[in-house]
């Protein structure tokens, strides 16, 4: 039987309560009947039966203007294999990770061709360095042990001036500065995991291996406001900028062999199976799992709940793999992402509700701080659309999350200062941006980014810029069940319950508002017509 497509449920009196994520927990909420709808993600697409065979086939049958990978490999060449970092996929997947499968096949071909000078680079951009355990998980023991001790497993350092090369500026004046090792290689093989439509394409190299000097051109409030949404590359200035940069990289004579993979929506293991089933289809076992996990999580301290959730390894399976020339590959990848995630939705509503989970791309094995909560809700979930946002202009977003004023001091040091200092002055992304340079060049943050496991000093600014489109579009943002002071610092309004939040929203958008709830994760992309 084919997996069922996504579904829009019109809420009626008989509709069972809807599951809302709430950080390291969940809540069942009753949405008003007759004016609410719930969007469910499509069921998991079929997994590739033999992923290794599919990878080999992709490498031998490239898309676009590209030779098969083996045609580019020769003795004496410099080969750089770059791969997506710990921010993908979410949650981290059960071993073997897709990157391991792809990189093993690439290395096999390289070895057959007698290529000796091979370096692996984690394409961190301005993200934190991965730990050894995270690298080991992503690459597998065989690859890790072959490359790490030999110093041939690197993590991109966007602050290492001696290992960056400025390739020029695009016709829009955007600096293109990327890893010197990659730029001076005869071939870059980029191994991507395309979890959402925003990922991949030219963004892989042009952002993943770039410097702050380069990234700042598309990670800014203006670009973000003109990306509507950045899950739709044809209406996304973020992508236009990356594409200009990617084409300049290609024009510089740098050959990129892009390998993109998509994953299916099989997001949670059996013990949390109810999270990806529709409430009215919950079995007795699902109900029991929900009740048991909810009541247990309520009693546990937040740190313990966090540990439990961050130990989840997703059963994600590879649903497609394509390789070759960047743009042709990405076009096919997007078709596959849309096939898995797209749900057609008719019209916008007054209010958009979302339950925010414990994880986003920037707190894997870490803490979801308030800035990341804002980014997950307004940056990611709000932008999970093509066409029009799910909520009308001037509408209200209601997010459910504990929004604790907690930060991981090792991973997010500049976030602490950003929250205390920058957001205390203004939450307007344009005003916020006035502090960007000071944070981006702060020697302490640079030191921690380069030598420890800290996100770059500028990173919290980027998180806030990601909210720019939503902040422009909405009249109010309400957080249910969040720490009041933290919520207010974000410029949002705190509410104790969903019904309080809906009442507050009515004050903004009028009585009896229409409501859309995004039941995600599993991931979905709303095609709003």
């Amino acid at each position: 039987m084919s997996p069922r497509p996504g579904f829009v449920l019109e809420v009626e009196r008989s509709t069972p309560p809807t599951l809302f994520w709430h950080g390291e927990g969940f809540r069942l909420e009753r949405l008003p009947a007759g004016r609410s709808r719930v969007i469910y993600a499509p069921e998991p697409a079929r997994a590739l039966e033999d992923p290794r065979a599919a990878i080999r086939h992709a490498l031998d049958h490239p898309l676009g203007d590209s030779e098969p990978l083996r045609a580019y490999l020769r003795p004496g060449m410099r080969l750089t294999v770059a791969f997506d970092d710990v921010s993908l996929p979410l949650p981290p997947m059960q071993a073997p990770d897709v990157r391991q499968l792809v990189i093993e096949e690439v290395l096999e071909l390289a070895a057959e061709a007698g290529v000796d000078d091979v370096v692996l680079i984690a394409a961190l951009a301005l993200h934190r360095r991965m730990t050894d355990a995270e690298l080991l998980h992503a690459l597998g023991r065989r690859v890790y042990d072959s490359f790490s001790p030999a110093g041939r497993l690197l993590q991109h350092d966007a602050e290492d001036a001696s290992n960056l090369v400025h390739l020029g500026c695009t016709d829009e004046g955007e600096d293109v500065e990327i890893s010197k090792r990659a730029a001076t290689s005869d071939l870059i093989v980029y191994v991507n995991i395309n979890l959402v439509a925003m990922d991949g394409g030219h963004k892989s190299v042009a952002t993943g291996l770039a410097s702050y000097r380069s990234i700042r051109h598309h990670h800014n409030p203006d670009t973000m406001r003109r990306s509507r949404s950045f899950m739709d590359m044809h209406h996304s200035e973020l992508h236009s900028s990356n594409w200009r940069m990617g084409r300049l990289i290609a024009a510089s004579g740098i050959r990129v062999f892009q390998i993109e993979t998509t994953l299916n929506n099989d997001t949670f293991p059996d013990s949390f199976g109810f999270l990806q089933r529709r409430e009215w289809e919950w079995s007795l076992r699902d109900r029991a799992s929900f009740l048991a996990s909810s009541s247990a999580l309520e009693r546990l301290p937040a740190s313990l709940s966090r540990s439990i959730f961050h130990s989840i390894r997703s059963p994600h399976a590879m649903s497609s793999v394509q390789a070759g020339e960047v743009e042709a590959v990405h076009a096919r990848t997007l078709e596959n992402v849309y096939a898995q995630q797209l749900v057609e939705v008719e019209g916008q509503s007054d209010v958009l509700t979302m339950g925010l989970p414990y994880i986003c791309p920037y707190n894997v094995n870490s803490i979801m701080n308030p800035v990341l909560v804002a980014c997950l809700g307004l940056g990611y979930f709000f932008n999970l659309y093509r066409g029009k946002p799910l909520v009308r202009e001037g509408g209200v977003v209601i997010m459910s999350h504990p929004t604790r004023s907690e930060f991981h001091p090792g991973h997010h040091p500049s976030y602490i200062d950003f929250f205390e200092h920058v957001l205390a002055e203004s939450t307007d992304p344009v005003e916020v941006a006035k502090h960007e340079e000071a944070y981006a060049t702060d020697p302490w943050y640079v030191h921690l980014y380069r030598t420890a496991h800290a996100y770059h000093g500028v990173h919290p600014f980027y998180m806030w810029y990601w909210c720019a489109h939503a902040l422009d579009h909405l009249s109010a943002v309400i957080v249910v069940g969040g720490e009041r002071d933290a919520v207010r610092r974000l410029g949002f309004r705190p509410a104790s319950t969903l019904s309080d939040a809906l009442e507050m929203a009515s004050d903004v958008v009028g009585p009896s508002p229409t409501i859309t709830h995004m039941r995600t994760p599993p991931l979905l992309l709303a095609g709003v017509i």
């Binding site: 205390e420 200092h421 020697p443 302490w444």
Partner: protein, 413 residues
């Protein structure tokens, strides 16, 4: 007259200490050595002394420490019992004063503020000690000698009375400063603590363009902020304040940034673009003024100040235990700041109290007086003063002209 009298009683000291440790200042006030009694006014000790009837008298951190039994035993030789507390005093001169060449011409009925240090002039000691000769009365070497009982200030001396009474205290003419008619009692009662703040600031060596931090924003911390803005030209002035109203007031008084205390070091690190070695900034503030003076606050200040910078203890520290290795290794100067006297300003020297009068008026410091209590409700007043921050208040005072209260709450200023 009614007066709060502090008696020497070891059991009551112990009871106050226990109540303080248990977190009850009102219990410390009621169980401790402080008693509201009917007593005779003090007699004039010698020529040059006059009677002053207090109108308003403040409750200071050092008063609270004494009442709560948390004060250092260091002060024992400089205090005589029983004494009437109260050294932040604005009052009315009761006698006709005979001016001499060192004292202001005052008439009966003049409103005055008290400069409470009992130095050589007040004690009839001639020639005065070297500090008093230089006008640095806060450093007087004769606080236990002369024709007065020991007492570092009015409010800690058995012979002078103190501000916490409805009758009179006695003051030497050299201790009195006339209050201009345009200055309210609320402003005038802030002159003495403002003088403390000015003295600390003027002695802190704050060069133009310095980065300065103030830790703690109770009365003294806020006055330090106002004083720095009045007499210094720092490039930045940051304040660590526990409570929201303190941060608001610190900004109003001229702070560039007012933060939670735990945010202060991070803000200084950003501004100085320092690195961190453990908890210590590699750069940091040029001067940090500690208005808390606990072992934690001193350690924080040592971490926030730059190498070879200066930490000034303005809060009264009592006995603290801390690791001074960073002070040694980073060659930090740690200095105390007590009371006032005469300051070097511009081309000349001026009495700190004169400067404090100007500061009080220009910065409108009377607004820091948050609550006034009649003396009958001293337990409430002391409990309020001890929890001023939590209760959204700054300075709590006794209103000695007040009639017996009808309500159970202190009157907001």
């Amino acid at each position: 007259m009614k007066a709060l009298v502090f008696e020497r009683s070891l059991p009551r000291f112990a009871a106050a200490r226990v109540a303080h440790v248990l977190g009850s200042s009102s219990r410390a006030a009621s169980l401790g050595p402080l008693r509201l009694v009917d007593t005779d006014p003090p007699e004039l000790p010698a020529d040059g002394w006059v009677h002053v009837r207090p109108l308003v008298s403040g409750i200071c951190g050092s008063d609270l420490a004494t009442i709560e039994g948390a004060s250092s035993r260091y002060f024992e030789p400089m205090v005589s019992f029983p004494f009437i507390p109260g050294h932040e005093v604005v009052g009315v001169l009761e006698d006709v004063a005979k001016p001499d060449d060192r004292s202001p011409a005052l008439t009966a009925g003049s409103r005055v503020v008290l400069e409470p240090v009992l130095g050589c002039a007040a004690r009839g000691i001639e020639p005065p000690c070297s500090p008093c000769a230089r006008g640095e009365t806060g450093s007087c070497q004769n606080l236990a000698f002369g024709h007065l009982s020991p007492g570092l200030q009015t409010g800690f001396c058995a012979d002078t009375g103190g501000g916490w009474s409805t009758g009179t205290l006695v003051a030497h003419l050299s201790q009195l400063h006339e209050v201009p008619a345009s200055m309210s009692d609320e402003e005038a009662v802030m002159v003495e603590p403002a003088a403390c703040a000015l003295h600390a600031v003027l002695g802190a060596g704050i060069a133009p363009g310095s980065q300065v931090a103030v830790l703690g924003a109770g009365t003294l911390g806020l006055l330090v902020v106002a004083a720095i803005r009045q007499v210094c030209d720092p490039s930045s002035l940051l304040v660590g304040a526990r409570y929201h109203h303190q941060r608001v007031m610190a900004l109003e008084l001229g702070a560039d940034q007012a933060l939670e205390p735990e945010e202060l070091a991070r803000a200084l690190r950003r501004r100085s673009r320092s690195m961190l070695l453990g908890v210590d900034l590699t750069g940091g503030a040029d001067v940090v003024i500690d208005c808390v003076a606990s072992s934690d606050s001193i350690r924080s200040c040592l971490a926030m100040v730059r190498p070879r910078g200066r930490v000034v203890l303005l809060g009264m520290p009592a006995k603290q235990t801390l690791d001074l290795t960073p002070l040694w290794h980073r060659e930090i100067s740690l200095s105390g700041a007590y009371a006032y006297g005469t300051e070097n300003v511009g081309d000349g020297r001026r009495r700190t109290f004169e400067l404090a009068m100007e500061l009080t008026r220009s910065a409108r410091l009377g607004r820091l007086v948050s609550a006034r209590y009649p003396i009958d409700r001293f337990e409430e007043a002391i409990a309020h003063a001890a929890s001023a921050g939590r209760r959204g208040s700054v300075k709590v005072v006794f209103d000695l002209a007040a009639r017996p209260p009808r309500s159970s709450k202190g009157r907001s200023a």
